[in-house]
Symmetry: C2
Subunit: 235 residues, 2 copies
């Protein structure tokens, strides 16, 4: 079941929704048209995998809509999600290495993909894009390292609280009292936090009983006491 692919007309970049947030923002009209001619839009259904850990990473690209996860596995199949990408974010590993992560759609998603070789050459020729990619990669590295503190040193409550705060601020409008739809299953939350599904579930019901959140049906989350949750997340 291959993902649907179709050429994206060159002019599409001009009106691209994520252009301002993606690395393409660094390019002028001419370079943008050139890059656009190298790319293709691609639709990925929720659950489908775009890149496999260990395979030659033939693709890179930008997320247009939806969310995807980056994950790695131990030899015996335990999974850890090492990153989640949103519209405007870059995916894949430029510059000649195998993919070290599996990239899988968490929701239906569209991405604008390039063959890695073609993208690498383009990047060599257009320094701006390297600059943009560098800034983005430095931010990603900061995020990964912050998450290492969570994985290495935080308790289950601290981990879950941190995730809920982050999802709420990222997907809600930041207002306390909001209800958001959780984009992750309990299993995925566990894979992100280094916990089991049961521990995630128990921790969330404990938060609900304590009046910090409400969980009206599996995937809905209502924030009731963000301050206290933040206090827990801080460790």
């Amino acid at each position: 079941m291959a993902a649907a692919r179709r050429p994206s007309p060159a002019h599409a970049c001009q009106s691209c929704d994520v252009r301002a947030n993606a690395i393409c923002a660094s390019l002028d009209g001419c370079a943008l048209a050139e890059l656009g001619s190298l790319g293709r839009r691609m639709t990925v259904r929720s659950g489908q995998t775009l890149l496999w850990e260990g395979d030659e990473a033939a693709l890179v690209g930008n997320v247009l809509t939806g969310m995807l996860k980056l994950s790695t596995m131990t030899g015996d199949g335990r999974e850890q999600i090492v990153g989640v990408v949103f519209p405007g974010d870059f995916i894949g590993r430029p510059f000649g290495k195998d993919s070290l992560q599996t990239v899988t759609a968490l929701t239906d998603a569209t991405v604008c993909v390039f063959r890695r070789n073609a993208f690498d050459s383009f990047a060599e020729a257009h320094g701006e894009i390297g600059q943009a990619l560098l800034r983005r990669t430095l931010d990603e590295l900061d995020r990964a390292r912050r998450w290492m503190l969570l994985l290495g040193r935080m308790s289950a409550s601290e981990r879950v609280a941190t995730l809920l705060i982050e999802l709420h601020s990222r997907l809600g409008h930041g207002r306390s009292g909001d209800t958001i739809m959780l984009p992750l299953s309990r299993q995925q939350m566990g894979d992100l936090l280094g916990l089991t599904i049961e521990t995630v579930s128990r921790t969330m019901t404990r938060f609900e009983r304590a009046g910090l959140i409400r969980l009206p049906g599996g995937r809905r989350l209502e924030m009731r006491n963000e301050e206290e949750l933040k206090r827990i997340a801080a460790g």
Copy 2:
């Protein structure tokens, strides 16, 4: 107790030991001289801190000799080491952000430092250095994400085995039967692995009793059965 600092003569770059391995390798003689004029050599004693988490990160630079750790802490003081840097590696956070890690010398070390602003401007003007930094940052990100799997999903034995294999291959000559000096205290190993000092110690004595390693005195490590240790590390 401020670290010792002295100007590095511009010509020092030409004969710099780490030049071939550092981002400077990307520069031609002229640009190298320019960058050299911005930098200063600096000595840091084991245990001294170069940058503090949360402070404005005024410095960036290259490691010339020694090893340093990058670490973060929870609000209540639990520490996680998120990276270890060796000669030729880059330290600091270019492009306008506070340092998110504390950088501390694990051994006596020398670094070649630049004021961040001066370095940023130089990097804007010299695309090559951005390219070199990008490749290095992508590698760092891969490493950080691999470590996230260890922190999130591996048992104490798997974590310790992974670290010992990595230290042995990095510091020894890769031959089984070698003895190496461990560059980390048990506490530091724990901070890197997300474990307590006691768990690290117990795990190592279990490995010794099983004949996988020998520990002749606190900091020496002799590899006796690298294969089995690798098997454990694989999960």
